[in-house]
């Protein structure tokens, strides 16, 4: 079953084309890893999926809802899509628990007790049960990103978007965030990950997409795209990053 489907999506900023023509499908439980050089439009793909960026042409369907349909509210769409940012973007004035509880309370309308229970459960799941009362500034980068993952999961989304979730972290602490992402993959949570972690893509990805210049150059299982790339652009990119 397809959860996210992009068909001929185009996006430009003025004369600068970011997405030339993107089509891709992500099924239930898949871990889709988008790789490619910076400026290739990878992050923009994610931002179009939850409507942070409006698309110019084409169609995106998320769990049966059309992103271009003005009748589909932002809330309806974003309840189905969790997003984790490169810079975490935790709310600094709220504790870890309050960060996680905010959307369940204000968007899903859970009462305080239920939201608290959900929040504590999710913090425990990402290994931060004892940090519930800490403010973001008191947490390391890896801990902050795990709180951000818990915060996104709190909406019980149908798909999780990871926008270079480990790129802002020191190399020695990317592991704790990747471990949480692997755990989510094992639980068959549908994930779309823009990543530079080729090891993660190879090990966890069910599908790898190589983007360059606003188009999908090559896609397939990691063993093919990463192991035996067909296109010259894929090969030269992999030669640089591996």
């Amino acid at each position: 079953m397809t959860i996210v489907s992009l068909a001929h999506v185009k996006k430009s900023y003025g004369a600068h084309t970011v997405l030339a023509d993107i089509s891709l499908d992500v099924g239930q439980g898949e871990v889709c890893c988008i790789i490619g050089p910076s400026g290739s439009g990878k992050s923009t793909v994610l931002r179009c999926i939850n409507r942070l960026v409006p698309i110019d042409a084409g169609e995106i369907i998320v769990d049966g809802l059309s992103v271009t349909d003005p009748g589909v509210s932002d809330v309806a769409l974003r309840r189905r899509v969790g997003m984790v940012f490169q810079q975490f973007n935790l709310f600094p004035h709220l504790t870890a628990l309050d960060n996680v509880m905010l959307a369940p309370r204000k968007v899903r309308g859970l009462d305080a007790a239920a939201a608290r229970e959900l929040g504590l459960g999710l913090l425990a799941k990402v290994g931060l049960g004892e940090k519930a009362a800490s403010y973001p500034a008191q947490l390391s980068g890896g801990q902050q990103q795990r709180v951000a993952i818990a915060r996104a999961l709190a909406m019980e989304p149908r798909v999780m978007l990871f926008d270079e979730a480990t790129s802002a972290l020191d190399p020695e602490i990317t592991g704790e965030v990747l471990a949480v992402m692997k755990q989510l993959a094992r639980e068959h949570i549908t994930m779309i990950c823009v990543t530079h972690e080729m090891g993660f893509a190879r090990e966890v990805g069910t599908h790898v997409i190589f983007m360059d210049g606003g188009v999908v150059v090559e896609e397939g299982p990691p063993s093919e795209v990463l192991g035996a790339p067909k296109h010259e652009r894929t090969r030269s990119f992999l030669a640089k990053v591996l």
Partner: protein
């Protein structure tokens, strides 16, 4: 009436007037500042421009001239204003213009990622503003708003020039009849203005520390 002690009742009444004018003007400034500051931070550029023009206008005129205009000028249009009302209106408009800059600046200084994270979680525009952006922005507004309050207290002394019996006017009237006490009277007035502003400054420092999350 002569002598320093005999001036004190009048000075106290004047202090009350100064305090009242400054307080009401500050409330006007905060209300105007938030209303226009929030609108300016959210509205598209086309809406911002006319407000910006008004803000720049009030920032670019001398406060005393504005008071004279409201007090001496408006009555010719049939709008009678008492000195107190003209003083509060002038101070409020002037400080409101500055306040809107403070509010707008604090809101737009919050990183864009905060707004994006709020949106991605499904929070609406008003929720994002009220739950995520403003709580962070308020902290950044506090020091400039305290400076603005001090400016209002100090500038309220201009009201003495349009017939308001504020602290300065009470002192001036007394010294007019007894210039032997000019030094102690004006020294008292200086200290009194300082004593209004200093506690506010202290309070804001304490608030800042309390709001500064670890």
């Amino acid at each position: 009436m002569h002598g320093y002690a005999s001036a004190l009742p009048a000075l106290l009444r004047g202090l009350g007037v100064t305090f009242a004018i400054a307080s009401v003007a500050m409330i006007v400034a905060v209300v105007l500042g938030f209303a226009f500051g929030i609108v300016r931070s959210q509205a598209p550029r086309a809406f911002d421009l006319p407000i910006l023009a008004v803000v720049e206008f009030f920032r670019g005129i001398p406060l005393l001239v504005l008071m004279y205009f409201l007090f001496f000028g408006l009555p010719q249009l049939g709008v009678r204003t008492s000195g107190g009302v003209a003083a509060v209106a002038a101070l409020g408009l002037y400080a409101g213009a500055l306040g809107s800059e403070i509010v707008r600046g604090a809101i737009v200084s919050i990183p864009r990622g905060q707004r994006e994270a709020a949106a991605a979680l499904g929070l609406g525009r008003a929720q994002s503003l009220g739950l995520v952006i403003l709580p962070q922005a308020l902290r950044r507004m506090l020091p400039p708003f305290v400076a603005l309050f001090a400016l209002i207290v100090e500038s309220s002394s201009l009201a003495s020039l349009i017939g308001v019996s504020d602290l300065l006017e009470a002192a001036r009237q007394h010294v007019e009849s007894d210039d032997a006490v000019a030094l102690p009277i004006y020294l008292t007035v200086l200290v009194a203005y300082f004593l209004i502003n200093f506690p506010v400054s202290l309070l804001s420092r304490r608030l800042e520390r309390r709001l500064a999350r670890p």
